[in-house]
Amino acid sequence: MNILVCVKQVPDMESKFKINAAGTWYDITDLAWRMNEYDEYAVEQAVRLKEQLGDADLTVISIGPAKVTETIKKALAMGCDRGVHIVDEAVAGREPYEIASAIAAFAAGKEFAVIFTGMQSQDRGSAQVGVLLGEMLSLPSVTTIVDFAYADGTAVVKRELEGGIKARIKVAVPALFTCQLGLNTVRYPTLPNIMKAKKKELLAVPMAELLSVEPRQETVKISFPEKKGSGLILEGDPAELADKLIRILKDKTGVLA
């Protein structure tokens, strides 16, 4: 069985963000990058499925500049068999329809029986690429899964709804799944596996070879939200801060006697 997992490299969300010169995205220099959190669960689930099946071939794919190979290598060290790097310096400005189209162009004809993606990215948060990819490949897709089991050509999964309620879903493969936080416990790559990953195949494909659609939307402006908070910001020595906070709680809330 061929399995595909799609991953995105995103900045650490605790980074100090700045706006780029064009005012259309965050400045991508001087940031620490990592695998999109939702995609970590997708990679883990893909590796577990491969381990369950034995004879499966697991491809990890990512779109972006040279540094995304680090994220691909992490997925290889977690247990993916081969990596595909769609080389694209302009990835930051791409919208979900373009991204899904490029992945679909790569995946077409390769008979992936199961495709995993994250349910959304931490930066753009559109929650579209997975479902669009499914549509483009005419595969049924199930979003926001928090439980996955596979047997005899059928996946039995749970999708998470508001309030933590879950919907039980059954679907025959080939199918696509978008993964929600907490789907599984993500493994840490071990040192031997990191070494092994270095020898695994990592194919580079230029974005221009795969992208044949025009974007359907564009960002006209990005900005920081106005600080509307009348909130007080306290900084300084912990002991003094604690005294200040206790005074405020006594004055402003009825909870401290």
Binding site: M13, D123, G125, T144, G164, Q217, G229, P238, L256
Partner: protein, 304 residues
């Protein structure tokens, strides 16, 4: 411009979020029609057309079939806007419909500035104004971003629709969230642990502060996913909704899904090393400090 608004049923009941869609369409100056897979028994109050597909036949969760039904209505109605809630139903269905309509989808709209939708970036750290290049636009709306309009007492004009498609995805019913343990919704004081606590041993720091304040402790989702704290203490859209007199968020960034669960708190204190963390937007007091140093000092002083 015509707008097609997608209402939702959950567990046989109409969700109130439909009124947020109506409020949004009014703000956009659109002429609205509703779409619903439901039953004639629970219909929204609405002054206009409602395209109704029978839930008994088309299923409550059956995205491929619901997509087909919406495409059918869109073909007839020729809307300029198709609007969903950014909910587990909406974010699942919207991209399918957008693809079918060859339309741009703008996800999780929180505001509209001069007709241009605004969406969050990096969990609310920034915002983005997005222009569609297609004439027809599909949008999903963040829960609570657009107010409820006055609900008209009038019943909508029902137009029945159906399809013979059955779809490849089968839905076998719901599973309730784990119940039992604490009921945070009644707590007057809640101290919550976020990923910023760093390791499971530090849950104790949070629990001790909660105890010193005479309250309960809660957690954000990553702390629950890591199994450092049990699920019934999770605050947020997929956990509990709370409204205490005092909420103390320790090492919690303030993602919308967390805020949705605690923004009705009377007084919010955030303890965070990042001065720009979005939790600062709604906090009455933001203490910029390492919780591992600050919280034990605070607890000790409170115990005196």
């Amino acid at each position: 411009m015509k707008a097609l608004l997608i209402a939702e049923y959950r567990d046989g009941k109409l969700l109130d979020s439909v009124y947020e869609l109506i409020a949004f369409a009014e703000q956009m100056g659109a002429e609205s029609s509703l779409f619903l897979v439901g039953s004639g028994e629970a219909l929204p109050g609405f002054n206009g057309d409602l395209y109704l597909a029978d839930i008994a036949r088309h299923g409550e969760f059956n995205p491929e079939v619901h997509k087909e039904l919406i495409l059918g209505v869109a073909k007839q109605l020729q809307p300029g806007l198709v609007v969903f809630s950014h909910s587990s139903y909406g974010w699942d269905l919207a991209p399918r419909v957008a693809f079918g309509l060859k339309a741009a989808q703008i996800s999780e709209v929180v505001a509209v500035v001069d007709g241009v939708p605004v969406v969050p970036v990096c969990n609310g750290k920034m915002r983005r104004e997005v222009k569609a290049k297609t004439e027809l636009r599909v949008m999903t709306l963040q829960a609570g971003a657009f107010g409820l309009p006055e609900i008209p007492a009038t019943a909508p004009q029902v137009i029945p629709i159906d399809t013979s498609l059955s779809g490849r995805i089968s839905f076998d019913g719901y599973e309730e969230a784990e119940k039992g343990g604490v009921d945070l919704s009644k707590a007057e004081i809640i101290v919550s642990a976020g990923r910023g606590i760093g390791k499971p041993e530090n849950v104790a720091i949070i629990r001790d502060l909660a105890k010193a304040l005479g309250g309960e402790y809660g957690a954000s989702r990553p702390v629950v996913d890591a199994e450092w704290v049990e699920h019934n203490r999770q605050v947020g859209t997929t956990g509990q909704s709370v409204s205490p007199k005092l909420y103390v968020a320790c090492g919690i960034s303030g993602a919308i899904q967390h805020l949705a669960g605690m923004k009705r708190s009377e007084f919010v204190v955030a303890i965070n090393t990042d001065k720009d963390a979005p939790i600062g937007e709604i906090a009455d007091v933001l203490v910029v400090a390492d919780l591992k140093q600050f919280v034990p000092v605070l607890t000790e002083k409170l115990q005196k």
